[in-house]
């Protein structure tokens, strides 16, 4: 590697990049759009579940129970009916997600101190919602008319995200996803564009080595990607008011390593394909899609079958996801993030070695 050749490559690449307003705009705006879209759209909190109540008792007691559902922040009373068929059709048409059937004689049974059955029908079409809604419903009913006494008391404490806001969990995860979406795309197009226009033949027919060429692309694109993540982090923390429990420096340092990984993947793709279209498609398939599915962004990895868990190790988004959530939510220190950080470093080195090796510097 010769410094002046590398310098010339970096300068050339930076100039091309700076003079391409469309790419710059894409690099700045797209991550922000994605941050806002997903920051607001991905909400895992279950609130305001629409409830229909079929009240056959129609006594002050049964109306009190209905009012408790309505006043809970988890439920919203959508309809009261005296016809069972209404409840059925409302569940079918999704106007309500849960139906509560209060049988006649509820008040009488309560007065007698008997056990009074109340039926809860939950729409299981969306299982997560169904499960949570029925659990909340049980809690409402368990406290009616007064909390029951038991010898054992549960004292639950939520650690790391005590308010259980899902945005606190989504935003640090989005860092991993967004960084896997755009920098590889930008970089993949960078080499392939030279192949398509033919300028790459001049590089082949010059003393520039594959390593110099790849590093010459890496530095400017890595810098752009790092600015991207910096911007996304600042906006993410400030706008969505996500508290950072751990060290911001450690987060940035890890992000820097991850930036190299993502840019490296882009370089690898573009060293393998010939057209911009192929580069784009392959990049989307190997980066964006798995970073949603196999990183633990939305679905925890441990619930997947073993084969898919192993498969998920192929995609680096998961490693950074752990680091990012660890630092932001659990105030994880270097020791805690080190295993994942090491994985990223090893991954990056492998990707670069492979990309430089694949850049054969021949036209065919």
């Amino acid at each position: 590697m010769k410094a002046h050749r590398l310098g010339a490559l970096i300068v050339k690449e930076s100039r091309e990049l700076i003079r391409d307003p469309v790419t710059i705009a894409l690099a700045v705006i797209m991550p922000l759009i994605m941050l806002f879209l997903f920051g607001y759209a991905v909400n895992l909190d279950v609130e305001q579940v629409a409830v229909g109540i079929y009240d056959l008792d129609n006594t002050p007691a049964s109306r009190d129970l209905s009012a408790r559902f309505d006043s809970s922040r988890y439920f919203q009373l959508e309809q009261k009916t005296t016809d069972l068929r209404d409840l059925e059709s409302a569940l079918q048409s999704s106007t309500i997600s849960m139906g509560v059937v209060i049988p006649a004689g509820l008040a009488r049974q309560l007065l007698r101190g008997d056990e009074a059955p109340v039926q809860v029908i939950v729409d299981g079409g969306y299982p997560v919602l169904g499960r949570l809604a029925s659990a909340y419903a049980e809690a409402v009913i368990a406290n009616f008319p007064a909390p029951r006494q038991s010898a054992v008391r549960v004292q639950a404490r939520v650690w790391f995200n005590p308010s259980l806001r899902s945005v606190n969990f989504v935003i640090p995860g989005l860092f991993a996803v967004i960084l896997m979406a755009f920098p590889p795309l930008l970089t993949a197009l960078a080499i392939v564009r030279e192949k398509e226009t033919g300028t790459i033949e001049q590089i082949y027919a010059s003393p520039v080595t594959s390593t110099e060429f790849v590093v010459g692309k890496l530095v400017p694109y890595g810098l752009v990607a790092f600015l991207e993540i910096l911007m996304v982090m600042v906006v993410g923390f400030a706008w969505f008011q996500v508290p950072i429990a751990g060290s911001p420096i450690l987060l940035l340092t890890s992000a820097f390593v991850y930036v190299l990984t993502t840019v490296g993947i882009g370089l690898l793709v573009s060293s393998l394909v010939r057209t911009q279209l192929a580069a784009m498609l392959i990049t989307l398939i190997v980066t964006l899609m798995p970073s949603f599915l196999f990183s633990g962004f939305l679905f925890p990895l441990f619930t997947m079958p073993l084969a898919l868990q192993l498969y998920s190790w192929l995609f680096p988004a998961g490693y950074f996801m752990e680091i990012s959530r660890g630092i932001v939510l659990k105030s994880a220190g270097l020791e805690a993030v080190l295993p994942n950080l090491m994985m990223l470093i090893v991954y990056t080195v492998l990707v670069f070695v492979f990309a430089a090796w694949r850049m054969k510097q021949k036209v065919a």
Binding site: A8, R19, T197, G198, T199, Q202, A205, S206
Partner: protein
């Protein structure tokens, strides 16, 4: 110890899959020699040059360039040579100076040497005034000159050039060669692929390549020897016979190998030595026969089967059409943003005229044609095509015009018959009318027995005529052909031009674009375009006259004179 030879190749060959592009060949080039590689499109010129430059590994054999193996020591080779590929070699967003300094720094040129050389190269190429202009905003000729500079800045011992003059305006091409001559005098060895006769003439030695084989290797004179004394031109003189009748007579003569149809004469290549007076005796009295200079193309013609060029074409009935129903273009401009692709172009062509629109790549030829066909919006001025105003893309206009685009827009997955049927239906012909139109178009283009396989598997020559047939189905009054002859061998080109001449003779107005300037010889009148503007327009003789050139001047010289007169080449570029 003497320095190693620039090129020594032994059994060098390359195949892509099963397709042998270069048959194993031995070649060596001496220091200071200038070698031309000549061959039709697809002969393997680029592949050979890429192997010599070390950017493509051979499948067999080996090649040493300046003593280094091109396979294992490609980077040592790269450091010592310049390789200018056919396509784009510049970074559009970098300025002239930035492109040049990038080229110098990646080739390890020390800064002080770079300063000295860049100044010299920029002034030599006439780019000195444009150092801060982005490469994207240079004209085609300037881009080529800058590419050459980037390949000379490290003062290579060997320069490999792939068709440096292709699609470049003639004046820039002359500058390019002036630069090359200057470096040659310093002992630079050069290998250059070319399809221009005058470029071949500047070489010490020529390798004639055909389908990956070296057909001949020697000086231009040696190469042309087989064709010497075998090329003649004939015209009807005052016999009152038409060229058609004349060619019928020639077809009876066994020793006539090929006949090329030009506007007012035929050009013959004989397959046996024959004295001029002997040949004259075989021709009707009063015809003018003259010996002609052989060209490289004639060598390829001599190697093809005689019958290939001997197809019969029906004589088309002349359809009289009202005057002024061809083309009338007034002050037409097409803008793409701030860029004027076509800039106030005016010309006309009466019905039955064969007009050549000539110009380098990027001159605006295709845009002009697309504007006339109603495919792009006309920003200023007007155009009448077959008596109809073009613009807005009216259906009435489309029924009167035929358009054959650069890449022969055919469906490669369909057979020729299916293609013809599809296009007939697309023009609203059905049943018997469609069958009749297809039969007619096939007869006119000489495709009566076209093979029944997929269009993609046909030769480019057949595809070219099939595309023409498809554009003729509705018997248009004006026919637009955009670069119809690229990638087609000479004999097929002769056939194609003959069909075109017949069509024009029947009263169809034909506008052909080409960057092969010599093809202008087939046409009645020429329109010369550069940088979106029409430099000159008229018949060849009248243009020669008005530009003060001799009657024998080539189209190349004509174009150069027109550029100089218009003073465009650089002064326009100085504008805002």
């Amino acid at each position: 110890m003497s320095s190693p030879e620039p090129i020594v190749a032994k059994g060098l060959g390359r195949q892509f899959g099963d397709n042998v592009v270069i048959e194993p060949l031995d070649v060596s080039v001496d220091r200071g020699q200038r070698v031309g590689i000549v061959g039709a499109d697809g002969a393997g010129k680029t592949t050979l040059l890429q192997m010599l430059a070390g950017i493509l590994d051979p499948t067999v054999g080996e090649c040493r360039v300046l003593g280094f193996d091109t396979r294992r020591e490609a980077k040592q080779v790269a450091a010592r040579i310049g390789y200018m590929s056919q396509g784009f070699t510049l970074y559009d967003r970098l300025s002239v100076k930035e492109n040049l300094s990038f080229a110098a720094r990646i080739r390890d040129v020390p800064d002080e040497l770079y300063r000295e050389r860049s100044e010299r190269l920029l002034s030599m190429s006439g780019l000195g005034r444009f150092t801060d202009r982005p490469a994207a905003k240079l004209s085609g000729g300037m881009r080529k000159k800058l590419s050459l500079c980037t390949n000379l800045v490290h003062e290579p011992e060997l320069l490999i050039l792939d068709e440096p003059g292709l699609g470049v305006d003639p004046l820039s091409r002359r500058h390019l060669w002036t630069m090359l001559d200057r470096f040659r005098s310093q002992g630079l060895t050069m290998v250059v692929a070319t399809s221009y006769m005058d470029e071949a003439e500047r070489c010490d030695r020529i390798l004639l390549l055909e389908q990956g084989r070296v057909l001949a290797d020697g000086s231009l004179e040696e190469l042309l020897r087989p064709a010497a004394g075998r090329v003649f031109t004939v015209n009807a003189g005052d016999t009152g016979r038409g060229l058609r009748e004349l060619s019928g007579i020639l077809a009876q003569i066994d020793s006539v190998h090929s006949v090329q149809w030009l506007p007012d004469h035929l050009r013959l290549v004989m397959n046996a030595d024959i004295a001029e007076n002997q040949l004259a005796e075989l021709l009707p009295e009063g015809t003018h026969l003259a010996a002609a200079e052989p060209r490289l193309e004639d060598l390829f013609v001599l190697r093809t089967d005689r019958r290939a060029g001997e197809q019969q074409f029906p004589e088309l009935a002349r359809q009289d059409r009202g005057k002024g129903e061809g083309l009338a273009v007034k002050g037409l401009s097409v803008h793409f943003g701030h860029f004027k692709a076509v800039d106030r172009v005016s010309f006309d062509a009466p019905s039955g005229e064969l007009l050549a629109l000539l110009g380098p790549n990027g001159a605006g030829k295709t845009t002009l044609i697309r504007a006339l066909c109603g495919l792009v919006t006309i920003d200023e001025g007007s155009a009448e095509v077959a008596g109809l105003s073009s613009g807005g893309g009216s259906a009435a206009l489309r029924r009167q015009i035929g358009y054959m685009s650069q890449r022969f827009s055919l469906y490669l997955e369909l057979t020729p018959r299916e293609n013809l049927r599809f296009f007939a239906n697309a023009y609203g012909l059905a049943g018997g009318a469609a069958r009749a139109a297809i039969d007619w178009a096939r007869e006119v283009t000489g495709l009566t027995d076209i093979p029944d396989k997929l269009t993609g598997d046909l030769s480019s020559a057949l595809r070219q005529r099939l595309a023409l047939a498809c554009s003729l189905l509705h018997r248009p009054r004006v026919l637009f052909l955009d670069e119809p002859t690229s990638g087609v061998d000479p004999v097929a080109r002769y056939l194609f031009w003959r069909v075109i001449r017949e069509l024009a003779a029947s009263g169809m107005t034909v506008l052909v674009t080409t960057h092969y300037l010599e093809e202008a010889a087939y046409c009645d009148r020429l329109a010369l375009m550069l940088d979106g503007r029409l430099l000159a327009h008229g018949s060849r003789s009248s243009l020669n006259h008005s530009l003060g050139l001799e009657a024998v001047a080539t189209v190349e010289m004509l174009f150069t004179a027109a550029i100089e007169q218009a003073g465009t080449a650089n002064s326009r570029a100085l504008g805002p």
